[in-house]
Amino acid sequence: MSKQPIDKITTPQTVVIISNFILGIGILTLPRTVTEKVKTPDGWITIILGGIIAILVAFIMVKLAGRFPGKSIFQFSKEITGKWIGAIISLCIILYYMALASFELRAMSETTRLFLLQGTPNWAIILPFIWVGLYLITGGINPIARMFEIIFPVTVLFFLLVMFLGIKVFEVDNLRPVLGMGLGPVMKGLTTTSLSFVGFEIIMIIFMFMKEPNRAMKATFIGLIIPLVFYSITFVMVVGSLTVDGVVTQTWPVLTFIRSFEIQGLLVERFDSLLLVVWIMQLFATFSVCYYAASLGLSQMFKKNINGFIYGLAPLIYIVSMVPKNINEMFEMGSMIGNFTLYFFSSVPVLLLLITLIRGKKS
């Protein structure tokens, strides 16, 4: 346990943290990653199914966390499986969050370099970003939650606005036929879309901060529904405008889609870079939660004050983010993290819950 008093977050704040965490760099590539697997315009069905799977897994996590009120997974995994296995589980999660933080940083930096700051070195973009994140998370969970409450409406409204500005290049025919090849291809993309919802596992950590833990289920549900709607809208708009073949060839299909139309008569003409600018805030949210979760995990594992770990992690995260040599290696890193998530978070919570259930019956 950290020595600081435990702050409490409200239910809307929980929703916002979950949604903000899920919506990260993934949404900018989602239409491509899904379509690569599905190869038909039915990706939106895959997204919805993936979302449902994510919600089911999230429910297991909430059930698990609900059995240990006031404790995070770093603490209750130890109680369930014993000191050593619990420590390994915690360490895995901490490493996962560190890697994810680094990945988000690097992805942010790469897109910024591509669209806004050509020729600026990665370190120059990443370092100040880490500093701002560090400054925020030293305040604890409450400022983080409040920060997200600012970021969330700004980014979400702007994103939706830009999406709907593209309505004039949108063609419904590009999405037809629905289920033309049957359900087979839809199922192929299920892993990808489920993975796009990664982030909801944060509930096992922030559950301990909730003011009303009995509403955790509802909060997680809404927190997942928001990105689900978001993903669906994005996919429909992007694939509807760029067609299946067009989407697959683009690295950042969402940004390409926005680039494909120009709005005359406004102060700003092109919205792709502007969207990216606003989306940097969303990436900041994802990054700072990862950073905070990793620090919190370490502080709870070693039972020391969190601040030391926050400062200590900053250079580590920076170094890891500089490991990929180019954008392709960065995407590889992303899929490695994704694979880990898939196997780890689909099995461990279920196992933990089973063990608690069996033990609970014994006693």
Binding site: L116, V132, Y135, R146, E149, V268, E269, F284
Partner: protein, 515 residues
Amino acid sequence: MKRRRKLLRNEEQQIESNEETILSCSDELSGDLSIDLGFIHQEIGQNSDVHVRELRIGPRNIKAAIIFIDGLCDLGQINNNILSSLMSVEDHECRDNELQPPLKELITAHKLSVGKVTETTSIKTLTTDIMIGYVGLLVDGMCEAFLLDVAQAKTRNIEEAQSEPLVRGPRVGFVENLSDNTALLRNHGKTQDLTIARFQVGSRIKKDLAVVYIKGIVNPELLEEVKQRIQKINIDDLPESGYVEQLIEDNQYSPFPQIQNTERPDRVMSALLEGRVGILLDGTPFALIAPVTFNMFLQSPEDYYERWIPGTLIRMLRYLATFIALFGPSLYIAFSSFHQGLIPTKLAISIASSREGVPFPPLIEALIMEVSIEILREAGLRLPKPVGQSLGIVGGLIVGEAAVQAGIVSPIMVIVVAVTAISSFTLPQYSIGITIRFLRFVVMLLSAIYGLYGVVLFFLLLCSHLVKLKSFHVPYLSPAVPYQLNDLKDFLIRAPLSMMKRRPKFMHTQDDKRK
């Protein structure tokens, strides 16, 4: 040595018994007028403005003296209500050479026609109170002195608040006198729940300070916190309420003001009704309101005095102006030197052509103009009004025009700077205006380095700071975050009054409903 001790002993024996007590405890009054006067003389006699007027009461010629400070007391009252009535004690009042009723009662109950009379036996209290404007009355044979309040404070007339003028609203502003100010508040809100608690602050120069709140609304924990912080103030003098503000605020390293200051009683009153606490300091017309949230600095009482539609629109206009005042020049720098592709081509071309011949990059260009406009504003502020106006014309119009003609800055830059400056004037509070002006330079530098990314970085940093900031345990960005649906009625919009039936939730007031 021996001889001296003997001498001393002889002297001691001569002194009367009651005087012995004086020596052992020199703070007490002796009752002997000449001795007491001697002590008082020792304490404050060196001051040339201390007046001692000796007199005799009644036909028995009881010795008495009044002591007062020149200029602090009302001479008319001293003459009419103290001197003349004491001197006119008549024969029939001293039957059989005995005063009937006893002297003390005669003086306090029959003779002194002064509103506030207190008694004291301590020389120290006596002298300190005389120094702040009381009249001290000593009577031979009495161990108590009277302190008469005939203070004549030098105050100015009640005028409109200079720093917060309104088109519609009461034309009343606080003055420098604390009791006038508390009276103004009482006048403004005639409720017995309005509580005024007095404190003394300042270790050397004692100043009166009043903590005002409404009983039954204010959160007791908040009140306790305010009182505790005030009692912790340890400084020799507090010339202005800004001292109090700086000594009790939460984070002294933040650029944002965490306590609001105002000259308007109506503003204080409405804050009190929201469950906040007001702090008034003697000697300044600026009252403090705590805790404060960011949006309060962007609100004007007029938002509420006007109907809700104009109130809402004007408020939104102010938010927009704040945004421009903060980000205007930095967005210009970002768009003109980093992201020309983002703005319409024609605009980009016209910016580029207007910048033709300008020898500086946009950042330097912006800095030249911004710094000179800040200098201009500061100069205009410190000069007498008529001079200030002509300075504005010379500085703003002539220099701006000439700078463009000379090709030092581009005309678009002048527009940007002018709009930014005007926008910053819409901020109804001076203290937040300074903050915004200062932060504008920070974001300009960041945007010169990173373009739009720098602007976003600054925004994230700013928000990170603001979400961490608290004013008396209230999050600074309430009610925007944490989300509080009910309080949002009075944030970006100003809902109709009939819809605002509850006090702000984040204040945790005792009485939630506005009845």
